[in-house]
Structure formats: C-alpha cells, structure tokens
Amino acid sequence: MMVKRILPLLASLFTFAFWASAMKFSAPLFSGFSPPPWLWILLLAGSLESSYFAAFFLTPRTPYLVRLLELVLLFVPLYLFYGAFKLDLLYPALLVFMAWLTARSYGSQFVTMEKVADTLGDQGASTVKWEYESLTSKNAYGSIPMEYFWWRLFSFAFVLVVLAIVTRVQGASFELGFLGLLFVVSGLMLQGCVYLFRLQMLWGFARAEVDKGLPRLWLRHLGLFVLLAALLVSLAPVNYSPLTAARLGSIVAGLWGGAVDFSLPQIPSQEPVPPAQEGLDFVVEEGEPGLAGILVALLFLLFFSLVGLVLIFSLGLFVLALAKGEVERLRGLPNLLVRMYLTLRKVFVSALKRLGLSGLASLFPDERSSEIFTRLAERQQEPLGKPGREDKPTGVRAMLRRIINRASKKGLIYQPSQTALEYGEVLEGRLATNKATVEEFFRGYQEVRYSFQKLSKVEEERLLAAGSVILAQIEALEKGDSSND
C-alpha cells in the first residue's frame, strides 16, 4: 500500500526535524558544543532506519539481539566520528538514541493501526461507522490512533517553543529556518497521511468499495494544503508592526486607566532604536508611525484576508472533492466551506468575465456550481420537522396568531410541536374565562384551518368574538403568574 510506504519516511523526517531543532537550540546551553555535520546525518539515518524497521520488519518475536545490533550500528559510527570515548560523547549519543526511539514508536504505531480486527473484533461493517466517528471524536475506552499523532505534534511544537524561549533568554538567536519548515511540513503531512491510512484500514476491514483514485486525490490536496501552510509560515512576517504586542498592550492599558489614546505613538525616525532588553522580550522593531503605519496595517490586513480566502477556497475544494456525489449530506462546517468555496468561485468567474477573459472563465463551468448549490440548499431548506412558509393568514387564523403572540409575552409559550387543540388545553387551564369559549374558538379554528368547507360569516364572527374574549383574558393575566408546563 502506497501510504504505508510513505508514512515511515514522513515520521522519520518529522522526528529528525524535531530532534535536530532541539539540538540546535540546546547547543548554546552546552558551552563548547557545536553540532558537527555527521551528527545531522546520523540523526536522519537513525530515524529512517528505526521507523522503517519498526513498520515493516519488527515483530514481537524479533530477537533482542537484532535490536541491539541496530543500536550498535548507530553508535559505532558515532564513536568513530568522535574519535574517542569521552564524556562529551554522551550528549550527541543521547540525541541520536532519542531520535531512534521516537521514530521507533511511530513505526510501531503504524503496525498497531493495521490491526483493526484486534479492536473491532468480528463486528464487521456495522462497527465501522462507530470507528469512523471515533476518528474525530474522543473514545471513552482509551487513546485512539489519531490522538496519538496530534498529541505528539503539539507537544513537540510546545517543547520547541520552550527551547526557543530559553535560548533567547540566554541571548542567542532562535531562528529555525529550514528545520522549522521541515517540522511544519512533515508534521502536517504525517497527520493527513495517517488519517488516510486509518480510513484505508477500516475500509479494507469492512470490505468497502472506495474509489481507487481517492488516495491519490487525498495526497494531492494534502500537498496543496501543506504547501499553502509552508508558504504562510515562510512568508508571514513575524514583525506585525505597527500592531505589535507592546502597542496593543499599551492601548489596553490606556483603556484600563481611562486615558484612551488610539493614535499611534510618534517615534522620531532620527532617534536610535532602543536596544532589546535582556530576558524574555517579544517587542520587535517598530514600523513607520503615523499614516504610513496605518497603511502598512491595512496591507497586512489585506494580505491575511487573501491568505484566509485562499485557505477557505482550498479547504472547500478539498471537502467537495471528498464528498463528490454525496455533497447534499454535508452539514455544519463542511457544508459552510463548500458554500464559501462555490461563492468564491462564482465571484472569481464573474470577475474574469467582466475583465473580458471569458475564455478563461469557461474553464470553470458555472452550471456545476449551481447544481451543487441546489443540492446543498435542498438539504438546508428541509431541516428536521420544519414546515414551509405559507401565506399570511387572515380572520380566525390571524386571531390565533394574535393570541399566541400575546400569550407568549405572558409566559404561555406556544411550542411549534403543539397542535392548536393542545395549546387550547394549555390556555383552558390558565385563563379565568369560560372553558367553553376557549374550546369553541379552538374547535372552530381547526375547522377553518384543516377542513375544506368554508365557515359562514356569522360563524366566523362568533369565533372572532370568542377569540377577543380570550385575548382580553390573556391581557388580564399578570406576567409571570402563569407558566407553560
């Protein structure tokens, strides 16, 4: 299976990126330690070997001698490169061992994920829906495979952030550069591929027939998404001037103190920029103040809006490609994403047409969009138990609406699932008026509403009079002295 072959590679790259970053950050903490080039190679080689071996060859019956041999093969080059067995060797050895161990646990997790039958037993396809749901929700019985990967991604990122802060406190540079990018890209790719792998396992177990092109499509869209994320990470400025944390802090402080000053502080450009303080300080270089600063802020806003739109567009496209023929079944956020995607697409196409690029616009046929819109709308327009709109009623029906409105203000709320007769019974129990009047009105109302026969003018007036009596009784009610049980 193609995904199974890629997964250990991604896991080892992610492991390498994490441990190499950790090594880079922690280097200044150990005076005199500078990571040699061969150590990077060893970290990567150790991760690759460990994850692939665990994913494809390691079994519970693998002799311990083999595992020991693996470690020996890893540590002997380390010893040879270092040239001597010294105490300084311990730190790089520990790093290599940790990377090897991390990659090993990933590889073992892939094997565990393959053993779907162990967790599902012989329940077959009926259980799969529950399992599928468990991909996105918490399992009461223990950690589910997806959680394992999420937690690792977040906790590793957290460790890196802590190390970066510690390094900065020490006064060293904390730029990640290529390693940071590799960490983000491999981490996100790993998440996406693991999800696909899990689904493939379940489909295989349930013998579900899934489009063979789906994994390829999945990977293509995942690649696109990760590429966008990588672009965002690489291009996004870390200096959000003039909206710096310090400036926002001062505005908040001003609001708190009552002296609000929304204008940007004027810093003369001739003045030297104050040096960064020692310790943890996120204040970065100030931008050009005044009008130029606002323009820069607007440009940033525009930039992030564009990035957001691109993200929504790609996510919508991704969801739509996955849902395919079952688009009308989408609900909630996926439904919203597809709708937003279609709207953006429509706007894009119409913009192309206005610009006179009809040839380019014809590449995006609008009929398909409108068809999907209709299918999405069909589902939306018919939610559970919602009747369609109808003409505004008059006469006795309008009187009942008035009764409902007035009674609701007095706490006698009409439930949409109640019939008129049921609501009449509620009123009967609360109002001081003659019960026969309430009954007469509601019985008459039912005839008006549900019978094909028309009421005579006299009967209608009689019912309206009964309705007026009920209205008067409702008015006489003290608010709060009645509640709808």
Binding site: L384, R397, S417
Partner: protein
C-alpha cells in the same frame, strides 16, 4: 362525499365498539384502533402476553361484521400450503382441485405468528400486501374485507423466529392490550361465569358495508399541511441518531390512512394533526429498527416516536 356517509362510519364505529364491548371489557381504545385498521384495509399485529384477550378480540370483531373467521395456530412445522391452500387430486373429475386454506376468510387470526418458520411467515406477505395468494402458479383473490390479526408474545422468545422487517412493515398497526384493571377483571369474571358472551354475539354490519365504508374513509379530506406533517414526521425517524432504519414511505401512507379512518370514526370529514399524533406510535413504532447500542441501553421505539412528536413542527400557526 356527503355528511351522511361520514356519519355512517361513525355509527358503524359505535355499533361495532359497543358490540365488542359485550365481550371485551375496558378495551374501547384498542377496539377503535382495530376498526381503524379494518376501515383502512390494513393488518394488525397484537403483541401481548397470553391470556389478555387477543383471540377474543379478533373473534368478536369477526362476529360483529358477520365475516368469515379462521384461525391459524402457528407452529414450527406449519407449511405455507397449510395456510394458503393446496391442490388435491379429485378422482371423480380426474384433475387437481384447489382446496383453499384458512387465509380465505375475512378475519384471519394468525396466533403466535413468530412460532412459524420464516418460510411460512413469508407466505403471508403476498396475502397481506396484495390481498391475494398464488398457489401452483395460479393467483386467487382473498375475501374482502381482509384483515389479518397476528399475535405474538413479547416475553417468550425460545423456539421463535422474529418477524423480518419486510413483514413488520406490512402490518398497519401494532397494538398491545395490556392487563385489565381490578374492576375490569372483576367484570370479566362476572360475565364469563356462566356462558361466554361471544356465543350470543350478533352481527351489526356486513362485509359489504365495511367495504363501502372503506371507500368513504379513503375520501376524507387531508389538508396539505397535515400531509406535510405526516411526511416530515416519518422522515424524521430516518435521521434519528438512535435509529438504524426509519419508517418507510409505506409507513407514512399507513399513517395517512389511519388518520383518515380515525377522523371518520370521530364523525369528521377532515383530518387533524391531533389524529396524526394520536396514531403515530401505533402506526410507526414497529417499523423502526433501532441501533444495537440503543437496544442495549433499553431504548424503545415508541419513546423515540414520542420524542419526535415533541420535536417536529406541526405547522399550525406561528408566533410572529
């Protein structure tokens, strides 16, 4: 359709109910539901413990409409031909002659239907769905009106074959009779002390009259919003989280027919949402297949229908 015809239905309902009340004590509501099924051309599944009067209800109904009554005691060795009929060789005529089975009656009681094998149960499908049976390649129409009353015991499952969903769906209503109250049981003992009242039960109508009233019931007016309510209610069973398989369109049709019959028995020429609400549980509950986890948690189909009745909008007036 004139008011006279509607009042005929109401009179028929009162006459049959009071006739059956001579035998059955305190089962007026169940009797009315039975009449709803009869007037709608449906079939009834009576699910209750032994000895509460299931058979007696069927017999008294048959006696009241002077229809042919037959009883099938379902057992595992019962064959389809035992109930549909069999072709036997007539030596005088020198050819095979079809001898009709107990299904050729107007009121048929299939006692303990879940004791019959699935093969025999399936042979009832054609009779229930189309009012005819096919034997040796020849199709024979059944008597009209045709009402199949099947009983099953909800407690004892050993040696039984649960009815498949397809067959359950063909039952118009599922009823339970329940135990009588203290006073009612006392009255039953008094009545049966000397002679069973069913032996003296006189008919109060004819099968032909029932057929005519069936046509009257079918013409009861159903306003668009009520029909819409029925459809929404049925559809909501399909998307309920506890339900694996919701009610079929046959279920919504049954609810419509039952509501029409109920309205006619109430001497009304139009259906109310209240009629739908009153009948939803008996018409729809047995058509739902619950999820295994819901069954294990002890959730019952009637409670799901009741829950939906409190969720689905009736479509009466709205607050502005």
């Amino acid at each position: 359709m004139t008011e006279r015809y509607i009042s005929e239905v109401a009179q028929f309902g009162e006459a049959v109910s009071s006739n059956i009340a001579k035998v059955m004590v305190g089962k007026e509501h169940e009797t009315k539901l039975l009449l709803v099924a009869l007037l709608s051309g449906g079939h009834v599944l009576l699910e209750d413990v032994p000895g509460v009067g299931k058979t007696m209800l069927a017999r008294s109904l048959a006696a009241s409409i002077s229809g042919r009554f037959s009883r099938i005691q379902c057992t595992p060795d019962l064959l389809p031909s035992d109930i549909t009929g069999v072709a036997i060789f007539d030596q005088k005529q020198g050819e095979f002659v079809f001898r009709p089975g107990p299904l050729f009656a107007q009121i048929v009681l299939a006692d303990e239907i879940n004791r019959a094998t699935p093969r025999t149960q399936s042979s009832l499908l054609e009779a229930m769905g189309e009012g005819q049976i096919t034997a040796d390649g020849v199709t024979y129409p059944l008597g009209q009106p045709f009402l199949l009353l099947a009983t099953q015991n909800p407690i004892e499952f050993e040696g039984t074959f649960p009815l498949p969903e397809a067959q359950l769906d063909r039952f118009f209503l599922r009823l339970t009779l329940g135990y009588p109250s203290l006073a009612e049981e006392n009255q039953v003992l008094q009545r049966l002390q000397e002679r069973h009242p069913i032996l003296n039960l006189k008919s109060c109508t004819t099968p032909e009259q029932v057929q005519k009233l069936q046509q009257v019931v079918a013409s009861i007016y159903v306003e668009d919003s009520v029909r819409d309510y029925i459809v929404r209610l049925t559809q909501s069973t399909r998307s309920h989280s506890q339900v694996q398989l919701g009610a079929s369109p046959r279920g919504s049709l049954a609810l419509l027919r039952a509501s029409q019959a109920w309205a006619a028995l109430e001497n009304r020429d139009y259906v109310l949402p209240d009629d739908v609400k009153r009948l939803a549980v008996v018409v729809l509950a047995h058509r739902l297949v619950l999820r295994t986890e819901s069954q294990l948690r002890g959730i019952q189909a009637p409670s799901i229908i009741n829950e939906l009745l409190h969720q689905v909008e009736v479509g009466a007036e709205r607050k502005e």
